[in-house]
């Protein structure tokens, strides 16, 4: 056996042992964790991997990064051949990839991608050093620089090794970069041989060093990203994970209660900060960064693995209660993460244990008690739920007593809040005028429980859901319609766990159908410029982006989109029970941030919403900012009813808000 081979075997054995030990430290807690059912639907799972890894679909939401990462990633894939060549030729003298083009087109590819990698690292360094995006705040910068250095080292040593060989053997047309470098290296001779030898070993060292470094670095994502994406949640965006049925009660209060997929998430985070950037709570100055939650859980998990932090409680120690209550469950963090990590799900699991322990934010407590007692979060008597109907000129059918085509699930705010009641009345009028056969549940309806579940209150959610389902069982209807996206999500997605399968439409969808059928005639909005805010639970959660836009267009209004629209819509801050909580510690309410975004468009007169909570939040935001004269909050139904009138401007400016 040659000395090179022997040396390589020894070095590899040592390096692989060390790397393996370190990998074990990372993976042991993951493998030891409780089970998670993620082995179903392999085809769909694999397709997702191809999309997000192969096509970099989520990464390309930031074009600069998409290109940069694409170059580095594809470079790594291609340079894997170089690693094969280096180690292979060391272990088995004479080994080479020539038989498949290792000296020809593979060599060329290696050269080209080496340049791409270096360019990519250059872009990365530029971004980190000069552009300094805010989402990197709190991320481990030193780790990043070490990785850039190691990648550069791997590539550079490879090029230099080839360059020194070219110095001896002559220019290689299949290796243009190495040849160019060779030109700078002087003449053939002893130095060149030594040089090649040195950089061969330097390359080996760089690769092995990188391998040893990776487990302790966020760069481990090169191994964990694919499985993490493969094992992602497929059950449906709007369905929360079922509650753990432990003897200690539901919810997670210790790191080891997280299942292996949660823990795999923790070791897949690259600290890119897209989740932090998208988080409305973070933007509001609340102590929540999804990235930091994942990093803190990860660090705690590793510490426990080493036997440290045994006394540190998960909640109150690693993650603060304020952090957990700050989340609006808008899903932006989950939908934006390139490796499909789920910060929000972890937060809800931890909320469940807080609820179980009775440690609840005081204003939330009032809302939950009201929900338990009265079936609504506003402290109003259940019997008064349909009181808004008194102001109509006609009686809405009682769906509990007679069959209807469309069962309208009204929702808490639409029923009880005076600012939203006027919209509810208009919707009723429009539906009646269009001859829709609809009815409501009157006081048989209770809060759908969507946000109750997201606040962590599984017990009360189940009571509310079962009560609603029982009421619905006694009714005959074709489909359910609601103006409230939160209720829509619960009825369409969450209630499935009780065996229901309702067809649920948003009122914008129904209005569009009516408009297309000519049953609602929309006039001309005169081209007035509006912007539309996609509600989280309608858009991101349930894919309902187009019907509202079609209605706006049909009604003759000009839509000027905000930058953060459709899937990237910026949450108003009400979800996850936050509308029931105290917001005094915020530096800027998400709703005010959003109104400013709309104002920055310059020409928008009306801020159009399609959710009762959005009406409440944005009306308050416009008032708080004092910009009532520059922008007005209007519901979709306002556009529909207004555009039937000749004098649109006055019609839309009339009324509250």
């Amino acid at each position: 056996m040659g000395s090179t081979t022997l040396a390589l075997i020894i070095v590899m054995a040592a390096a692989l042992a060390l790397a393996g030990y370190r990998f074990y430290g990372v993976l042991a807690p993951v493998l030891r964790a409780p089970a998670a059912a993620r082995f179903d639907r392999p085809g769909e799972r694999a397709a997702g991997v191809l999309r997000d890894v192969g096509l970099h679909r989520r990464l390309f939401r930031k074009t600069y990064v998409g290109i940069m990462h694409g170059m580095i990633f594809s470079g790594f894939v291609v340079l894997f051949t170089a690693i094969l060549q280096s180690f292979g030729s060391g272990l088995f003298p004479g080994f080479g990839l020539d038989f498949i083009g290792g000296s020809t087109w593979i060599a060329l590819l290696q050269e080209v991608f080496a340049v791409l990698i270096l360019a990519g690292i250059g872009m990365a360094a530029y971004q980190r050093l000069v552009l300094r995006p805010a989402r990197f705040r709190g991320s481990n910068g030193a780790d990043a620089w070490i990785i850039y250095g190691l990648v550069m080292a791997v590539v550079a040593t490879m090029i230099l090794e080839h360059a020194f060989r070219i110095v001896q053997a002559g220019s290689d047309p299949w290796r243009p970069l190495s040849s160019a470098v060779a030109g700078l290296l002087g003449g053939a001779g002893e130095n060149a041989v030594t040089g090649e030898h040195v950089f061969y070993w330097a390359h080996i060292a760089a690769v092995l060093g990188f391998l040893i470094y990776i487990p302790g670095s966020k760069h481990r994502h090169i191994f964990t990203a694919i499985p993490n994406i493969y094992f992602r949640e497929l059950r449906g965006k709007g369905v929360l994970s079922p509650a753990r049925d432990g003897a200690e009660g539901s919810g997670i209060s210790d790191i080891d209660q997280f299942d292996w997929k949660h823990k795999l998430d923790l070791v897949s985070c690259t600290e890119c900060g897209r989740c932090q950037e998208a988080c409305p709570a973070n933007a509001a100055g609340l102590p929540l960064s999804p990235k930091k939650v994942v990093m803190d859980l990860r660090d705690h998990m590793f510490a426990r693995e080493k036997g440290c932090q045994l006394d540190v409680p998960l909640i109150g120690g690693v993650i603060s209660e304020e952090t957990l209550w700050a989340c609006t469950t808008c899903r932006a963090c989950m939908d934006v993460c390139p490796v499909h990590i789920e910060p929000m799900t972890k937060i809800v699991e931890m909320r469940r244990s807080l609820i179980d322990a009775g440690s609840v934010e005081p204003m939330l407590q009032d809302a939950l008690v009201s929900l338990q007692r009265n079936g609504n979060s506003l402290g109003k008597p259940a019997r008064q739920r349909a009181r808004w109907t008194k102001d109509l000129g006609f009686k809405i059918k009682d769906a509990r007593k007679e069959p209807v085509d469309v069962l309208w699930f009204v929702g808490d705010y639409a029923s009880y809040d005076p600012r939203v009641q006027r919209i509810t009345l208009q919707v009723a009028q429009v539906l009646a005028d269009a001859g829709v056969d609809f009815g409501i549940l009157y006081d048989g309806e209770q809060n759908s429980g969507n946000d109750v579940r997201r606040a962590g209150e599984e017990g009360t959610f189940e009571v509310l859901a079962k009560s609603n389902i029982e009421a619905l069982e006694g009714c005959t209807f074709n489909r359910i319609m609601t103006t409230d996206p939160h209720s829509l999500n619960a009825l369409r997605q969450e209630y499935r766990m009780f065996g229901c399968d309702y067809e649920v439409v948003h009122y914008t969808q129904l209005l569009l159908e009516l408009a297309e059928a000519g049953r609602v005639v929309l006039g001309d909005g005169g081209g007035k410029v509006v912007t539309y805010h996609d509600p989280c639970y309608l858009g991101r959660y349930n894919g309902g982006f187009d019907a509202p836009r079609a209605l706006i267009a049909r009604a003759g209004f000009t839509l000027h989109e905000m930058g953060r629209c459709r899937e990237n819509s910026f949450c108003c801050g009400a979800g996850g029970g936050r509308i029931w909580m105290d917001d005094r510690t915020m530096t800027e309410r998400p709703s005010e941030n959003r109104i400013r975004e709309a104002l920055a468009l310059g020409d928008v007169e009306f801020f159009v919403v399609a959710c009762p909570k959005d009406t409440v939040m944005y009306t308050a935001a416009v008032q708080a900012l004092g910009v009532e004269d520059r922008i007005m909050v209007r519901d979709m139904i306002d556009l529909v009813t207004a555009s039937r009138n000749a004098d649109i401007g006055t019609e839309l400016r009339r009324g509250n808000g």
């Binding site: 506003l378 809040d417 005076p418 105290d582 917001d583 008032q623 708080a624």
Partner: protein, 314 residues
């Protein structure tokens, strides 16, 4: 009718409520009735000008500050001695401690939260506040009886000539009393707890601007009220957070709540809708606050403040 009025004291003086009771007692007792003031501890000479016929006073070193146990024993002593037709207490802590205890011990009828009392022969027709003021309960009691009267039912008696006769009564044996005083808390003149104020002047967005706050502050001072604000005013930084009234601020129940330029959003109403008397001033006649106020006016808030300051300054 012989009426015995319990005089409650705070910071060394008879409370306003006690002074109201004396007016009421005089009206009830009529020309040939007798009104006695019952003072435990304190200086009877300070009470002789309040219109009672006699001041029945018990003094003892152990009675230098209110103590539920010793004071109840003293009142019992006097009540058993005098056997009045009517024992009048104000709806205050001492009244709650003493009146029901005595009433059940001596099998006397008791009516609480009285807002109106009429005598009819040997009977009293009483109206009481019930269900947070949503309803009024009318009842009839035969004398002798005990009543706990709400504040604001009568006017405070005016200080007149010191004509009452002081009757010193010996204290009962207080040595066995087990309740011992440990420490007292007095309100910090600097800290503001708006939930304890009897009168509040609230400013909303309709007040105009920050300068208007100073005018409002002066008006509040003259009115004997604490200045508070609705959420937009606090958000704008015009008033500190401890002065916020509303769902995410403090919930208050003062006797008088004057809301200036406040629209009456549900979150604000939640903080003050149960106040005794609510006055709303808002230039918008459709402002929801008017559905929850007792009195209203649609004049400009700033004009109102100016007029109020002028009127009170005189």
């Amino acid at each position: 009718m012989h009426i015995l009025v319990y005089i409650d004291q705070l910071a060394g003086a008879a409370t306003g409520l006690s002074r109201e009771l004396l007016t009421g007692a005089r009206a009830l007792a009529g020309a040939d009735g007798r009104v006695d003031a019952l003072l435990i501890g304190g200086d009877p000479a300070a009470v002789t000008g309040l219109g009672a016929d006699r001041v029945l006073s018990i003094r003892d070193p152990r009675l230098d500050r209110y103590n539920p146990e010793t004071f109840t024993a003293c009142v019992a002593e006097v009540a058993d001695r005098e056997k009045p037709d009517l024992l009048l207490f104000g709806y205050c802590t001492a009244g709650l401690d003493i009146a029901p205890y005595l009433a059940i011990g001596r099998d006397l009828p008791l009516v609480s939260y009285c807002t109106r009392i009429d005598a009819e022969g040997g009977c009293l027709n009483v109206e009481s506040q019930i269900y947070g003021g949503k309803l009024v309960a009318a009842s009839s009691v035969d004398l002798p009886a005990v009543l706990l009267v709400n504040p604001g039912v009568y006017r405070e008696v005016e200080e007149g000539t010191d004509s009452a006769e002081i009757v010193e009564i010996a204290a009962p044996d207080l040595a066995a009393a087990g309740t011992t005083f440990l420490s007292a808390t007095e309100p910090d003149p600097n800290a503001v707890d708006i939930t304890k104020a009897e009168r509040l002047l609230c400013v909303g967005r309709g007040i105009g601007d920050k300068e208007a706050i100073e005018d409002a502050r002066e008006a509040a001072r003259l009115l004997g009220a604490e200045l508070v604000g609705s959420r937009p005013v606090i958000d704008a930084g015009w008033l500190p957070k401890e002065r916020q009234v509303g769902k995410s601020g403090r919930k208050v129940k003062p006797r008088l709540y004057v809301a200036l330029g406040v629209s009456g959003a549900p979150e604000h109403l939640e903080g003050m809708a149960t106040a005794g008397t609510i006055v709303a001033v808002n230039s918008d006649p459709r402002a929801p606050i008017f559905d929850h106020a007792h009195f209203g006016a649609t004049v400009d808030a700033a004009d109102f403040i100016e007029a109020l300051t002028d009127a009170l300054d005189r």
